[in-house]
């Protein structure tokens, strides 16, 4: 088990390293000049050259990469051009906001999508199930910026219940969370229904029914117990993805998280900030993925006790 964890940790760190390295090279290959963003459109050639020298951008890319690596191992990711502060610190200050939004969104998703999926699986081919089915397809199809703007118009402008932007009060959490959750609920509830339907048709469930086990127990203990693994995996993966910054939603609601930060960093070609954001979110995503993998054995005895079939 310790071996397994070490192996997975090693793989995870390698993934993070390769991701950051790729991003390092790609942003330098992409068009756009940090010096122009920093010094402004009216800067002279001399001024631009000075800025480039200051940021170390006048050196060859490989040399820049070598310096980046040396600093990386000392925990220094450079100074953000636009914030004039350590890049890592800038990202770390934004991280709690994204974590809060992601956690709230995934909790809302789980609390709504699981019962909804179970409910749909229990009433196949009824009018109400059809209605909910159509709603989930709609939820899946609506782009989140549109959902976000609709919610803003509805519940911040027309009926001003919630703040339109920022995170000054807990109320500010509601609209972005709902915006993210609508899509996730649509996806996860359909997955729950599919898993539950498969398990309702499984032989073990029919045999359990023949033992006089109540429907509620068949549903929650048996069918849900067996659907838990894929559903838990999906929720975990989506959570990890949200930590990379729920970019569009954060921008729509001016949420002070990592997603809106990365947009600004990309706009200004703030290389150290981009690298720091990618590093931190990749680390978190890999960490969450590891936790999911380690939770498998708890959910599935076949993983915990090995697949060795008795003869």
């Amino acid at each position: 088990m310790t071996n397994y964890i070490l192996k997975r940790l090693g793989q995870g760190l390698l993934t993070v390293f390769l991701t950051v390295s790729t991003v390092f090279i790609l942003i330098r290959l992409a068009p756009g000049d940090p010096a122009v963003s920093y010094a402004g459109p009216l800067a002279t050639t001399e001024q631009l050259a000075k800025v480039r020298e200051q940021f170390g951008l006048d050196r060859p890319v490989l040399e820049q990469y070598w310096i980046f690596l040396q600093q990386l191992f000392t925990g220094n990711l450079g100074t953000s051009y636009s914030f004039q502060a350590p890049a890592l610190q800038v990202v770390a200050e934004r991280m709690p906001y994204t974590l809060t939004l992601a956690t709230a969104s995934i909790l809302l998703t789980a609390v709504v999508a699981i019962p909804l999926g179970v409910w749909m699986s229990r009433r196949p081919d009824t009018k109400s199930e059809f209605g909910v089915n159509v709603l989930t397809i709609a939820g899946q199809s609506m782009p989140d910026f549109w959902t976000g703007i609709m919610l803003l118009t509805g519940f911040a402008v027309l009926i001003p219940i919630f703040p339109a932007s920022g995170f000054a009060t807990w109320g500010g959490l509601v609209l972005p969370t709902v915006t993210i959750a609508i899509l996730q609920i649509a996806l996860i509830s359909r997955m729950v229904r599919r898993e539950m339907t498969t398990n309702f048709a499984a032989p073990y469930l029919t045999v359990a029914r023949s033992r006089g086990i109540r429907n509620s127990i068949l549903t929650w203990r048996y069918a849900m117990g067996n659907s838990a693994i894929p559903v838990f995996t999906a929720l975990g993966t989506r959570f990890a993805a949200m930590l990379n910054g729920v970019v569009v939603v954060e921008v729509v609601f001016a949420w002070p998280g990592v997603g809106s930060l990365i947009v600004r960093a990309l706009e200004t070609r703030d290389y150290p900030l981009i690298q720091a954001t990618v590093l931190l979110t990749a680390l978190l995503a890999v960490g969450v993925q590891l936790v999911i993998d380690l939770a498998y054995p708890l959910l599935d005895p076949r993983v915990r006790l090995g697949k060795a079939a008795a003869a």
């Binding site: 081919d125 499984a202 032989p203 073990y204 469930l205 029919t206 045999v207 359990a208 029914r209 023949s210 033992r211 006089g212 086990i213 127990i217 203990r221 048996y222 117990g225 067996n226 838990a228 959910l299 599935d300 005895p301 076949r302 006790l305 697949k307 060795a308 079939a309 008795a310 003869a311």
Partner: protein, 305 residues
């Protein structure tokens, strides 16, 4: 085992109420291709201590009959009619009544033990659940555990305390079928429906499971509805046989009579499908006339070559 079998035996010969009384039972399945009558007006009955076998090819409707009696077919896809009285209660006329007999007077032994238990719940938890539903033992944890161990002992599972903690994937098919029989016995049922209980098992294990069923029947006088395509199984444990084809019985009668003097071509084909009867021939209690079917088998077999 043939104690209940006599040449003049008829269903109405019994004075006591039948455990299972099936009359004009029909199952219509709603499929994309239209309505299919999978079971067409079958009638039979089972009394205490009797084993009645429905034998037929795949698709003959034998398993559908069993599942229909237990009302385990999907409600929206299967239309049941006729009458099925379990211990005097008609579960076709009163669909709710089935819930009172499942896991109480009636138990199912499924076709494939490998897929018949929830893979993420331990043997012990699934057995304990059945014990609690049966309501026989007190709900005290120790009492339930003791009863679980006793049930596993009754189906001859070695070191029962250890098996309780195991999960289905850790046991062999034969062991799982014993566990499923133990679960079925938790409620002290009077009627067992065994839906091809040995067809998914190794031949060497099959005999042990059939012996166990016979032993339990002898001890407790349980009635058994056996579904099988295997005439070897049928002749070993049945009192009466109903031969099923395309949803209806083409031949019914005493086990000896069917094996020795099959009336229809279909039954003769089923007999011919048994390649070698092997050591089960020597099972004590089988009639000494086994040479006749053997000869019949060779003849029919030769004809098909």
């Amino acid at each position: 085992m043939n104690a209940h079998t006599d040449a003049g035996h008829t269903d109405s010969g019994h004075k006591e109420q039948a455990l299972l009384e099936v009359r004009d039972f029909q199952v219509e399945l709603i499929t994309d291709a239209g309505i299919i009558r999978a079971v067409d007006s079958v009638s039979f009955s089972i009394h205490r201590g009797e084993t009645v076998t429905i034998i037929g090819e795949s698709g003959s409707g034998k398993s559908t009959t069993a599942m229909g009696i237990l009302r385990l077919l999907p409600e929206d896809l299967a239309v049941l009619s006729g009458s099925v009285k379990i211990d005097g209660v008609d579960v076709i006329a009163e669909p709710k009544a089935i819930e009172k007999v499942r896991g109480k007077t009636l138990a199912l032994i499924p076709q494939d033990p490998m897929t018949a238990l929830s893979p993420v719940h331990s043997i012990g938890s699934q057995l304990s659940e059945a014990i609690r539903i049966a309501g026989a033992a007190s709900t005290d944890k120790g009492a339930v555990q003791a009863r679980a161990i006793r049930l596993l002992e009754q189906v001859h599972i070695p070191t029962p305390e250890k098996q309780l903690k195991k999960y289905p994937h850790q046991l062999s098919g034969g062991m799982l079928q014993r566990v499923l029989i133990a679960i079925a016995l938790a409620s002290e049922p009077q009627l067992l429906v065994a839906d091809e209980p040995t067809s998914a098992l190794d031949v060497t294990v099959q005999g042990g499971i059939l012996d166990l069923l016979l032993e339990l029947q002898e001890q407790r006088g349980i009635g058994i509805l056996m579904i099988t395509h295997d005439l070897g199984v049928a002749r070993l444990i049945s009192d009466r046989i109903h031969v099923m084809k395309d949803g209806s019985f083409v031949e019914s009668g005493d086990v000896q009579q069917i094996v020795d003097h099959p009336a229809t071509e279909y039954t003769r084909d089923l007999l011919a499908a048994v390649p070698v009867l092997g050591p089960w021939d020597e099972t004590p209690g089988l009639p000494a006339t086994t040479t006749t079917p053997d000869a019949a088998l060779t003849n029919t077999g030769a004809r098909h070559e």
